[in-house]
Symmetry: C2
Subunit: 198 residues, 2 copies
């Protein structure tokens, strides 16, 4: 069966965004990543930078800090308000036609659609360290720690909103090691899977 | 890079053995499954049926029962003795040339070889139930329970000998949902990955 919507969940530094873009090119369909932030900004009125940070921030990672998070007049936290907008944006994008969506718990939000292909991209630490240092340069923190912290936040955020384990194979149709397979070939394989038996 | 040795770990009922056989056919290389039992039998003198059972039996699943397990004159349990023979057999098979090996913790035993491709095959419960009822018929136990118990044993056995989590993506180069992708296409994808950029 042909799959119109491809969601890509990815470890930080695994090249998941690049793979998403290349897959979209191969299939000739739109790729959504930053566009999702823009659409959430339109719906909520929040600043794009703030939405981006909130998407990575986990409500349960620091309960003390969470009590200081902005809330609207109905007592809903900004984080939950952004989440509600994100759900609508992702459903609307999927409804609009074939596309590739990277991150933002799209695998969970679209889990009941039959026309979706859910992919998880990962790699070993060595490959990810090489990639983030090349792309983003060195920082005061060790690359290993940057990887750990970023993925920990993603994992807690995912668990908080979906009650599922991030990176557990059963949440996806395929999981690919981009370090061994390579970014180009991952995109080719995903495109092949999406095309079905065409 | 071309991968000569393919290890396939699989959930019970996911069609991993069939996928292994088909991959071997596509690549024109031998497929090892029952042959491993025969070779362990040659090395240890144990009966093939007994070896097969021990392979699925986990030493930690029932500590009380474990104290009654047969031991040889050096105090080594039959289970550990079979495990040691299994390690040698799998290393020898990999050393002998390209092949597909299904199960038996081969992904762990060959983890340091550069020429290996490690695959995990899984599926959702519905697909696995359909498969085991078709292949093995009904039994007194519900198919869901048969799946759970078999995979639980595999998982505990794997953990006991490898100290790794069975089914965790980082132990493999790719994980494929055979229920969605289909047995034939899984084999094609694995063969494609094994061929590398040829």
């Amino acid at each position: 069966m042909k799959k119109n919507i491809i969601t890509i969940s990815r470890e930080f530094g695994s090249g998941g965004r690049t793979i998403g873009k290349k897959t979209a090119e191969l299939l000739g369909i739109p790729y959504y990543d930053k566009e999702i932030i823009e659409k959430i900004a339109e719906k909520t009125g929040f600043d794009k930078k703030y939405i981006e940070q909130q998407g990575e921030y986990s409500p349960t990672a620091n309960t003390f800090a969470y009590s200081f998070i902005g809330r609207n007049l109905n007592g809903v936290s900004n984080h939950d308000y952004i989440w509600a907008a994100q759900c609508r944006v992702i459903e609307e994008l999927a409804e609009a036609g074939p596309c590739v969506i990277v991150g933002r718990c799209a695998d969970f939000l679209l889990k009941d659609r039959e026309d979706c292909l859910h992919i998880f991209i990962y790699a070993d630490t060595e490959a990810k360290v090489e990639r983030i240092v090349k792309l983003y340069g060195e920082t005061g923190q060790s690359p290993e720690r940057r990887l750990r912290e970023k993925d920990k936040m993603r994992s807690i955020n995912y668990k908080y909103y979906t009650e599922r384990e991030w990176g557990r194979v059963h949440n996806y149709h395929a999981a690919l090691d981009s370090g061994m397979i390579g970014v180009e070939r991952c995109a080719e394989l995903i495109a092949k899977l999406a095309r079905g038996n065409e």
